[in-house]
């Protein structure tokens, strides 16, 4: 870390450094783009993966924190860029360096009104085109009359704005067309059975071939990040269940870890083991449902019944311990809510017994099927470079040959002690994404096997102050959710509720990349490609 800091300091004397869990570099906006280029291209740094952009409102200034990761060295760094202008805040875009930055910048624009110079597409991402105000700003006017509930269809525009810098350094606004005047545009969604929720694609087609897809999110944007600012830390936890409802346990785990790290709480070994067990069980349940719904998208309806059989068995195990089928709210700050059900171990053993036979059956029924092979092999190819540039993590990223499993690269909890393999394939097509998930179930079962007979005795939840206050500062932690790298960022001002809680979802990049990987394929392939990315829409929209 020290030599990275030294290197940046020699190249950019204006940069200042802040110590945090991930070192923060402060840089003036004018030098930001050049620093970003150095960070990405310098052979010693090679920060090629943009994890997220956290928009921030510090009352006197607005700005962004960029979290970067190097896939070759594994190093982390964050960069803070701020502006004092609240009326017309502007920062330089890095959309030309990391493909996913374009979408992340749109998100920041949507919530904070920060305009990114040179970003080719500065539209709102989640809120409708006529929305008044920027909701995550601290001075946002939440008056219902400003943005009332309406049943009138929202205004559509084929144009987008972009701000470009001319030779004299003057920033001018330009209007650009999203689709050409001769493009034939088909609307898919938000109510479409194969978008897995309420996602909307506007698709320009040439005959049956896809030319371009314009992604519309926000049909289930619930404003979790803003609500969390009014709640205490334990109260914010339950929203994690309702983002990606299949990864409820890993997401809870992540937020708990972030808060525990900030508050300096050490949790017991028993609680750690229980958390990991629950994470892996939910991973199997999630992949089961993925296989079922994915096969259903392709017309193989009966597969759903086979995969849901295992899922129901897992839900039963969880229900006995957590008391719910989907929204568990089980992990809490300091450990877990309740002790395990007395039959937990026996039930899990039963599950492990039937699982291999079930996976074999899935393979027999579906994987080798000739229709499946024709529709999946060689469709929707995503190269390793593109996967990194677009930030596509999780099983989808690993199918492109990018070993991005946080459990291996940045082991948290007790994962470093466990013996399991990271499933990586190199084909990068829909079939690879499907097979990675299939194999991950086996690996998850392996983790559970190692732990289930060795659950240590001990307390399930350590003592945590009734009124929990975090010290001033910010923290960011990542875990491996069922669909990829999930992170939570907390900025605390020393009170009982977060000053800013940013949720870093794995599904937003997965949906954003659909435009890139479907180009040139037939419109029917959009369903198989989109399905293989396995995004969950409430996770995208938050």
């Amino acid at each position: 870390m020290a030599d990275i800091q030294e290197r940046i300091a020699t190249l950019y004397p204006d940069a200042t450094f802040e110590a945090a869990d991930i070192t923060v570099v402060n840089i003036p906006d004018a030098q930001w783009h050049s620093l970003a280029k150095t960070l990405r291209d310098d052979p010693e740094l090679r920060f090629d993966y943009l994890m997220t952009i956290v928009g921030m409102d510090w009352a006197d200034s607005l700005g962004c924190i960029y979290y970067l990761n190097s896939t070759s060295t594994g190093a982390h760094i964050s960069v803070k860029v701020t502006t004092n202008d609240r009326i017309k805040p502007m920062l330089h875009s890095v959309a030309d360096l990391w493909a996913i930055a374009g979408i992340y910048e749109r998100e920041v624009y949507d919530f904070f009104g920060i305009v990114f110079i040179n970003n080719p597409d500065m539209r709102r991402l989640f809120l409708s085109i006529d929305w008044k105000g920027f909701p995550l700003r601290k001075d946002y006017d939440a008056d219902e009359n400003l943005n009332p509930v309406t049943t009138e269809s929202e205004r559509q525009s084929d144009f987008t704005d972009t701000w470009v810098e001319d030779e004299n350094g003057k920033v001018v606004k330009k209007e650009v067309r999203v689709f050409g005047p001769e493009d034939f545009v088909v609307n898919i969604g938000p109510q479409h059975p194969a978008t897995h929720g309420v996602l909307r694609f506007r698709t320009a087609v040439d005959g049956e071939t896809i030319k371009k897809i314009d992604l519309y999110c926000g049909y289930i944007h619930r404003g979790v990040e803003k609500i969390a600012e009014q709640l205490t830390y334990p109260q914010t936890l339950h929203f994690m269940d309702r983002l990606d409802y299949f990864s409820a346990h890993p997401y809870h785990h992540c937020l708990c870890m972030t808060i525990e790290q900030a508050a300096g709480i050490e949790i017991s070994r028993r609680a750690q083991v229980i958390r990991v067990l629950m994470d892996e069980l939910s991973r199997i349940a999630s992949h089961c449902l993925f296989i079922g719904t994915y096969c259903m998208d392709l017309g193989a309806t009966t597969m759903l019944f086979y995969t849901l059989r295992v899922r129901e068995q897992i839900l039963d195990i969880m229900e006995k311990t957590c008391g719910a089928r989907m929204t568990f709210n089980y992990e809490c700050i300091g450990g877990v809510m309740q002790d395990l059900d007395p039959n937990f171990v026996a039930d899990v053993h039963k599950l492990l017994e039937v699982l291999p036979a079930n996976i074999k059956e899935y393979n027999k029924l579906f994987t080798g099927n000739v229709i499946t092979e024709n529709r999946l092999i060689g469709v929707g190819n995503l190269s390793r470079e593109d996967a990194i540039s677009w930030g596509v993590t999780g099983p989808s990223g690993r199918a492109s040959g990018w070993a991005c499993d946080i459990r291996k690269t940045d082991p948290y909890s007790i994962y470093s002690e466990l013996d399991f393999e990271e499933v990586v394939r190199t084909e990068g097509d829909s079939m690879a994404r499907f097979k990675v998930r299939m194999d991950e179930m086996v690996q998850s079962a392996r983790i559970i096997e190692q732990l289930i007979d060795n659950i240590p005795e001990g307390e399930i939840c350590v003592k945590v102050p009734k009124v929990l206050k975090l010290p001033k500062g910010h923290w960011c932690r990542f875990v491996e959710g069922c669909r990829g790298t999930f992170g939570t960022f907390i900025e605390s001002d020393g009170t009982t509720s977060p000053y800013r809680l940013k949720i870093i979802p794995p599904c937003l990049p997965a949906a954003a990349v659909v435009d890139h990987i479907t180009r040139g394929f037939k419109i029917a392939d959009l369903i198989t490609i989109g399905g293989s990315m396995d995004y969950i829409v409430p996770d995208i929209d938050r």
């Binding site: 909701p135 939440a142 309406t150 289930i220 803003k226 019944f305 989907m326 929204t327």
Partner: protein, 202 residues
């Protein structure tokens, strides 16, 4: 007249007073013997083949998938024909949060359903906004934009609860007059009159 189904004794139902109110309304209006018997026959058929629209925005939708799978098996009741097109569906299970951007879409889907049509508000979010009560972007209950027949609480409701809610809906269907529209269509018209959309004539 006790409105019930074969599988459940009358006293086990909740909200019996509501259904009795509907029965009274039906009886007060009187009926022609022939039309009345025909009504009964049609309603018997309708209430046993309620086709849902696949409309899920979030968590509740996954429980709806479980409902369709082998364990809870809604095919037992004749509801398994989940349609993706609103033109072919009888009712809309609003499974999940409706936000302001989605509101026009939900309303349009409702408008596209063929008459007679019904709505179940499924889950805390669709009933009242649920855990997102303080949100700037959530519609506080789908009842603000479309008329709701059955409110189903839970976050998400268990599949058993979903079965119960659709059974309640089919009970409601049984005491409706198919010819002449007693019991619910007038209320629906009133609602739509008070929530107009520009350019669309309800």
């Amino acid at each position: 007249m006790e409105v019930t189904t074969k599988s459940m004794p009358y006293e086990d139902w909740k909200d019996n007073e509501y259904i009795e109110g509907l029965v009274k309304e039906l009886n007060d209006n009187g009926a022609n013997v022939i039309v009345g018997s025909l009504d009964k026959l049609i309603n018997w058929g309708r209430s046993n083949s309620v086709w849902p629209l696949t409309f899920a925005t979030s968590c509740c939708g996954i429980e709806f998938v479980s409902l369709g799978a082998a364990r809870y098996d809604m095919a037992r009741f004749g509801w398994e024909v989940a349609r993706s097109s609103p033109r072919q569906a009888d009712f809309m299970m609003v499974a999940g949060t409706i936000v302001k951007r989605m509101a026009p879409v939900a309303r349009r889907l409702y408008d596209q359903l063929a008459e007679p049509k019904y709505v179940i508000a499924c889950g805390a979010c669709a009933v009242s906004g649920g855990p997102f009560r303080k949100s700037y972007h959530v519609v506080m209950g789908v009842g603000k934009i479309i008329p709701v027949d059955v409110y189903l609480p839970g976050c998400p409701p268990r599949p058993e609860a979903m079965i119960y809610s659709i059974m309640q809906l089919s009970r409601k269907m049984k005491v409706e007059r198919f010819f002449g529209g007693v019991n619910r269509q007038e209320k629906q018209q009133e609602f739509l009159k008070s929530h107009p959309i520009e350019g669309i004539d309800d």
